[in-house]
């Protein structure tokens, strides 16, 4: 994509009321736009990052048998009264609204209730199980404060998968598969080395739930990390009993700040009981369905990547989520060639087209701007590779390629460059 066709621009300063580092960088680099506190629009580059993260999550959910749907934001009061979660005393972050008739409706902050009600149409027999249903859907949460940028928004995209299993054993089996899928996701988006499967409070059905916590000072949680076992314990459940369960001692644990980037939870029969979601087994006996829920927010993942991987010059995207693998920069030639054209720009245009032919889409800074401005913008915007075409590189017969994460620079010929970007 040509930068002159991208309508966004970088800016020196974020809005004064923006206190989160992730939103500050993302706004300055033109990835998001602050609509209200905790409410962010995604601009072209930001949308590309979100779509890359969504694509990775979708692949992992499909791989464990997930089937995709799209439920609704508007929620029926009657559905939520069945579990008692309509009440603002029970759930303190509802957004509610009113239909023309005067009837109340809510804006979904999660979807256990409506999906359990829906599955009653489709689950009757043991032959109808198991089912794994997921969606990417906008959730609304009326947060008291909204000071964490896109890491805790009032409106945000969430992937939520719900499992419907025959019995506890079948549930456990899927739960472990889902846990591994989550490990894969965080590894693929570039957060694997700093994300811990964290033991957190369970419910009546299961002693623990599992959070995926990424270590960062921007996090709101405190966890105790066991480096060797690559697990952690949420401060909320840190007791001698839990230490004994996990076979670890306090001495092995290090306290860290972290952000919950995903969580998986055994729901047992809490929702299937409330909605009488049951099936008839092979012997003709009626049994409740065992459920689980598995959540992850692509926006929070994006915010966490920015918080943890950026440096003093700006954002550093891992290759798998970057809006473009490379930022192609042309520094216009000082002198025109015999045909009156600008040799560096001519070569940059040619390379841009050649990369496109290879299926490599780069962001091409084709603006007429000073080199310093182009370099600063490239650092701020954070593509994994920066490719420079200039009089200097033309003379050397190669392209100057800088790796954003390490700062390392090399001279690469076209073929080597294509190999590097295609990897």
């Amino acid at each position: 994509m040509r930068q002159t066709e991208l309508f966004t621009k970088t800016r020196k300063e974020a809005p004064k009321d923006e206190v989160a580092r992730n939103a500050e960088l993302l706004i300055r680099a033109g990835y998001v736009y602050k609509e209200m506190a905790g409410v962010y629009a995604y601009l072209p580059l930001g949308l590309r990052v979100i779509e890359n993260i969504v694509g990775i999550i979708r692949e992992e959910m499909d791989a464990i048998g997930g089937v995709e749907v799209s439920l609704t934001a508007l929620q029926d009061k009657k559905t939520w009264e069945r579990t008692g979660r309509w009440s603002d005393d029970v759930v303190d972050n509802w957004f509610k609204t009113k239909l023309k008739s005067g009837a109340e409706a809510g804006l979904g902050f999660t979807h256990e209730e409506p999906l359990t009600a829906l599955m009653k149409d489709f689950i009757h027999s043991y032959r109808d199980l198991p089912r794994y249903v997921y969606q990417f859907q906008t959730k609304f949460r009326n947060e008291d404060r909204a000071k964490s940028g896109i890491m805790r928004a009032r409106e945000f995209l969430m992937k939520d998968l719900y499992s419907f299993s025959l019995d506890a054993k079948a549930h456990e089996h899927f739960y472990e598969k889902a846990k591994q899928a989550y490990v894969n996701i965080f590894s693929r988006v570039g957060l694997g080395d700093r994300t811990y499967v964290t033991f957190a409070s369970g419910g009546s059905f299961s002693k623990y739930s599992h959070e995926f916590q990424t270590v960062t000072d921007a996090g709101e949680d405190t966890i105790y990390v066991h480096e060797k076992k690559k697990i952690a314990i949420n401060k909320e459940v840190m007791t001698d009993e839990v230490l004994a369960d996990l076979g670890v001692t306090r001495a092995d644990l290090i306290e860290k700040r972290a952000v919950e980037v995903g969580n998986i939870f055994s729901l047992g029969t809490r929702f299937s009981d409330a909605f009488e979601l049951a099936y008839v087994d092979e012997k003709g006996e009626k049994k409740p369905v065992i459920m689980g829920s598995y959540g992850i927010g692509p926006g929070r993942v994006m915010g966490t990547i920015v918080e943890t991987l950026s440096d003093e010059n700006g954002i550093v995207w891992p290759k798998a989520v970057a809006p473009f693998k490379a930022h192609l920069i042309v520094l216009d030639s000082k002198d025109a060639d015999a045909t009156g054209r600008n040799p560096a720009r001519k070569e940059a245009e040619r390379l841009y087209a050649a990369l496109a032919t290879q299926g490599i889409e780069v962001l091409y800074d084709d603006r007429e701007a000073r080199p310093g401005e182009k370099f600063a913008d490239a650092d701020l915007m954070g593509m994994p590779y920066r490719i420079v075409v200039s009089d200097k590189t033309l003379a050397s017969g190669g392209y100057e390629v800088k790796h954003r994460a390490t700062g390392k620079t090399e001279q690469l010929a076209e073929k080597a460059l294509i190999d590097r970007l295609g990897k």
Copy 2:
């Protein structure tokens, strides 16, 4: 996809309170689920149809220079007060809600205001124009009645593109390109032959706006169609002056019921004036940006296809939007073969895998069910082709392929079948 892995099932009856033919069929066939009046969840098959329609629209928007973003549902009261559209007296279908602070927020029913405000950050000079920005986003409209199924929902996906042009001439040029893109879209989704560019009321900037009206008795609008010119006039603007403008006479027009599946509108400076969205031209003079808006609802398109193309047996999907190009049905063999296996099922499994290898994903009815049930479900669900594998087809050495739209049946060998589906 195997039907045993699809959690939805067909049903004989739609919910009693469902009066729209499109929702009735879509619910019975397992494409959508009614959450509340005018609020529908999309099940796996329905989501695939929506994604196909979205894909077609996205291609056409990209082809005319559109750049994709994703704005927010939650809307700031202050933004909408600038045009007077916050008031419920001016806009009668707002859904409004409250933040914890007590401040009011709205749920976007359209996005002229927030996008115009946003573009102020990025449009300053004539060099920043033109810009064409679009999104696929959930809109909320508090409809009084909701009796048209997914054709007029309270919550629905909408593609809205907004154009920002230098002057009236540049705007007109893009407007015509967008009009052609819309013609392409309706042709590609299978509604081209019954969709008319319809003259409707304009605004202070432009005498007319243009609606895309698809003829159907389920529509809420009345239009006057000029078959030869392939245009129509909305009843609301049907005057002698308009007839003269278009060079047509009343005698050439036929009154029809129709549904508005898209609309394009010249906004002039209505929003750029309200938000002071201006640019400095080459002479250093400040000028207002000329805007246009271009809307189309994928759900309404889907509902309109069902209303207009279905028959007494169920839905008939055009190939470009069908969730799967074909429905592969196995009728289990009466007798096992020498190895104790069921020859028809063995062959159906082989064909299912062979088609997948060719990149042709079919819906495979691998259920153990009666032939009559499978055939009725296939007709109701509406894939363009039905492929039967049975003892009979095994004996004949080909597959029975039925074209859903025409009812025509042929016997095809594997290669001919792949050619047919790949087209």
